[in-house]
Symmetry: C2
Subunit: 272 residues, 2 copies
């Protein structure tokens, strides 16, 4: 259902107004996705319902296959660049936005109970940076992780920028939030997960780690790392580095660890 | 030598004026480094000469150990935040800038000839994104790579943002530019490097790759990847991913591959 918008004050596109500020305050039951690649990933996920699209006029043709696959009552608003930028509050270079409904977040025990006998889960503790959370979801999707758990301090994976950095991975891998890092750990233990905490002071070396069928990888923020009480209760693993320069980005770290835990293509996780 | 600057038009801090625009046009024999961590890395590298510092007044005390170690004739300019932001042209949250002289870039054959019998080199082809190049240098430093080679399309590792993202890694790992990707490949072959080209269509799997004493890892941009003629002349290697989501960031990819090639802490590259 194509609807041309010529006035940036049009009430029908209320959900797109001042996107950047709304990102920051959270948007209840909705989120905003941006760009063609992300939109195509979103359209394939059954747990999110697309409420509407807002497209720059020159993007309509290249996306027609996609919005023709949407239910007929989903409005596809179109506007010229000037009107679109004025609605959103800054230049939307990609010219493609979608508003979708969030999926309900299941209790952690329920999410873990659903997973197969062999499963790989990522747990994030205190990760407040959207680039890092987006990057971790991209890696989680690429290496077939089954779920991501978030502690209360970790930022929202459905923040627009996090989705963009994840190239849609934040829409692919199921996630839920736990009441605390401790709750997360307890739920993983109860579901028989072998919990691996990455830390520069880890006792084992990643490359030598043999994984269990149910493996969970815990990651903390660069700098503070994972809390000491959590490290005391888990299997700690380090990634050895060149002595003089001991610094890895946490998203990169997740990629290295997930590549190893997923078996680098040798494990049955990957049908080859 | 502490020098208080109260006027943003003061000619002595010319090198700091409108940093962002100057980043883009290149700055001949100089570069700008930003932030405490990067500045401390810079001060340890003998191949770069620090010409001056510009510090927010409230940062002077915490850095006094550092600028006392500099030669006595290196000016340390200080300014309040308003003057500093006005000199630079945007808010410098970190309150710490340095201007340093670039090191000469040796011819590629000379750089490679200097390396030890067992060596790890990274070759970048068409990487125009400063975040990615910065991220790759961070990983190259973390995993002890001996050198990075750049083709003409790859961006400047000493661009302010690339240095920042590299957390100083761009100042640690020696690099040089080659006349073309072909020249790079030929130089590596002549120096007896086993050249490994990462590609989604690679014939070998990274996790199964046995490295030679002299190994070079070639990376291309996300999307286009490495040119076909280069792939045809090298050993191609892939990182298997979950079939439904085949997307890794190139800096993350470099981290995964360098972790493997460096032996994950088991190889003699790391004195443990």
């Amino acid at each position: 259902m194509l609807i041309a918008i010529s006035d940036s004050a049009d009430p029908r596109i209320e959900a797109y107004r001042a996107v950047r500020e709304r990102d920051l305050v959270g948007r209840e039951h909705r989120f905003v996705a941006e760009g063609e690649v992300v939109l195509r990933v979103l359209a394939r996920q059954s747990r999110f319902i697309i409420e509407s699209l807002l497209l720059a006029e020159n993007r309509v043709e290249s996306l027609s296959d996609l919005f023709e696959s949407l239910p007929a009552d989903v409005p596809v608003y179109t506007a010229n660049r000037t009107v679109m930028d004025s609605i959103v509050g800054f230049p939307i270079h990609r010219g493609i936005l979608a508003v979708a409904r969030r999926a309900p977040q299941p209790p952690v025990a329920e999410l873990l109970a659903r997973l197969p006998e062999r499963a790989l889960v990522v747990g994030l503790v205190g990760l407040a940076n959207h680039d890092n959370v987006g990057g971790i979801f991209r890696n989680a999707a690429a290496f077939g992780a089954d779920a991501v758990l978030l502690d209360p301090e970790t930022c929202d994976p459905l923040y627009r920028k996090a989705i963009r950095v994840s190239v849609g991975g934040a829409l692919v891998v199921p996630f839920t939030r736990t009441a605390s890092a401790s709750t997360m750990l307890r739920a993983l233990e109860e579901a028989q997960f072998d919990v691996i905490a990455l830390s520069p002071s880890g006792k084992e070396t990643l490359a030598e780690l043999e994984r269990s069928p149910r493996a969970a990888l815990l990651l903390g923020a660069e700098g503070p790392g994972l809390p000491a009480d959590l490290l005391a209760r888990t299997r700690t693993v380090s990634i050895p580095m060149s002595g003089s320069f001991d610094s890895l980005n946490v998203a990169t770290t997740s990629g290295i660890a997930l590549h190893h835990l997923a078996g680098g293509g040798r494990a049955p996780l990957f049908a080859r």
